[in-house]
């Protein structure tokens, strides 16, 4: 599998470890019925999807989340790691001072102030009302500005004609794509993403997903227990994906 790419960008590494200044402030808790949205209802900001990754629980060498994402979205590549799409990848980080090795999944961080959307010339990069940042492939022209703007290198570009797409995840040549918190599943009433489910099934429970507006959601319970932090908090992007255990 194409995960576990040892992180070469020293820059990222250093900053990751030094800049976790902002502790995740647990948002005002609104009593919220988390009944799944009816299929015909539009998403709104009363739901705020978020994810937390507990790095202490993320196991080195495990790629369950990456594999699950590949299956869920039919991200079969061409054995060309340089260009094959990755919506989630595993990074291995080494703390310079303590030499401690940690590993974590990296994917779209679903920023509340997403730089990808700022630079998109067609509005194809957008943030859905419920906080999911994604690409509207119907209007994406493949300019890849968003890929350059993303500090997490979370987006991929499809370089080749594809044939075996799965029904639930259309994708094709000439467009940018990235993690969309399994929007299709979520909209159909699931409250877990493919990666969270895989991580749970693996028994690691490092990834927790859920609705920030629901005090009982798994992600809220996880960050109550152990504060989640945003990577590169200095950029003030207010990501909805947080990491705890650093």
């Amino acid at each position: 599998m194409k995960n576990n790419s040892l992180l070469t960008r020293r820059d990222f590494l250093v900053k990751s470890f030094t800049a976790f200044s902002a502790i995740y402030i647990i948002p005002d808790i609104i009593p919220h019925a988390s009944a799944s949205k009816p299929l015909d209802k539009e998403v709104d900001s009363s739901t705020r999807w978020a994810m937390n990754v507990d790095i202490d629980k993320c196991v080195e060498g495990c790629s369950a989340c990456v594999d699950a994402c590949v299956d869920e979205n039919g991200l079969y590549g061409f054995d060309r790691p340089e260009t094959d799409s990755q919506w989630i990848r595993k990074l291995t980080l080494k703390d310079i001072k303590t030499e401690k090795i940690s590993t974590l999944p990296m994917m779209c961080q679903h920023c509340e102030n997403p730089p990808c959307c700022d630079v998109c010339p067609t509005g194809a990069s957008f943030r859905r009302e419920d906080g999911i940042v994604m690409v509207n492939q119907h209007t994406c022209i493949g300019c890849r500005y968003c890929m350059m703007a993303c500090p997490f290198k979370a987006r991929s570009f499809v370089h080749e004609n594809l044939t075996e797409q799965v029904t639930n995840a259309p994708r094709g040549k000439g467009c940018v794509e990235s993690c969309n918190f399994c929007a299709n599943r979520i909209d159909h009433g699931a409250d877990t993403t493919a990666c969270e489910e895989a991580c749970m099934n693996e028994g690691h429970q490092a990834i927790t997903f859920g609705d920030l507006s629901n005090p009982n959601s798994r992600v809220n319970k996880a960050i109550d227990n152990k504060p989640g932090r945003r990577l590169r908090a200095d950029l003030a992007l207010k990501q909805r994906v947080t990491y705890s255990g650093f």
């Binding site: 299929l39 299956d71 039919g74 797409q165 799965v166 029904t167 009433g189």
Partner: protein
């Protein structure tokens, strides 16, 4: 005068087939191969579908992608699920391949669509939700799975 009306009516009668599209009322699906072939009615009246199907699709795609609305009625995945034909071995034939449902009319009318460069042209893969006829059942399956997950997490809390 009477004569004039009569011949006028006759002319209209003669040329009538040219005035209406030759596609009205004519069926383009291959009999006995797809789900649709065993059904009476499309998601809208046939005459409406023939003329407006792409408007429904364009409308639906924005509603779905931007607003997260997932109604099945005008969903492209749903069109394919119902209109895709199966060969003798039970394999689905891509809806946009030669002679198939989303292709025949388009060839005749010189319409080119790129939808199937991204959208699966046969029902494929992880589609627990869209494939099943009763959405509710599969959703409750997912819930069952999830509540099991929550339980796991709570157990973990107690351990601490």
């Amino acid at each position: 005068m009477h004569q004039l009306v009569k011949s006028f009516a006759f002319i209209i009668f003669i040329f009538n087939p040219l005035l209406t599209s030759s596609h009205d009322g004519e069926k383009h699906s291959m009999k006995g191969h797809s789900k649709a072939d065993m059904m009476e009615q499309c998601v809208e009246p046939t005459i409406v579908m023939q003329k407006e199907h792409f408007k429904f699709l364009y409308h639906q795609r924005d509603k779905t992608v931007i607003k997260g609305v997932r109604t099945k009625k005008h969903s492209l995945a749903n069109c394919i699920d119902c209109h895709v034909s199966y060969d003798n071995k039970g394999e689905a034939i891509p809806v946009n391949s030669d002679g198939q449902f989303c292709q025949t009319c388009h060839v005749e009318t010189a319409v080119n669509i790129d939808c199937f460069s991204c959208h699966a042209s046969v029902p494929r893969g992880k589609q627990v939700i869209l494939k099943s006829n009763d959405n509710i059942k599969s959703i409750s399956n997912i819930h069952a799975k999830t509540s099991y997950l929550i339980k796991n997490l709570e157990d973990m809390h107690y351990e601490k």
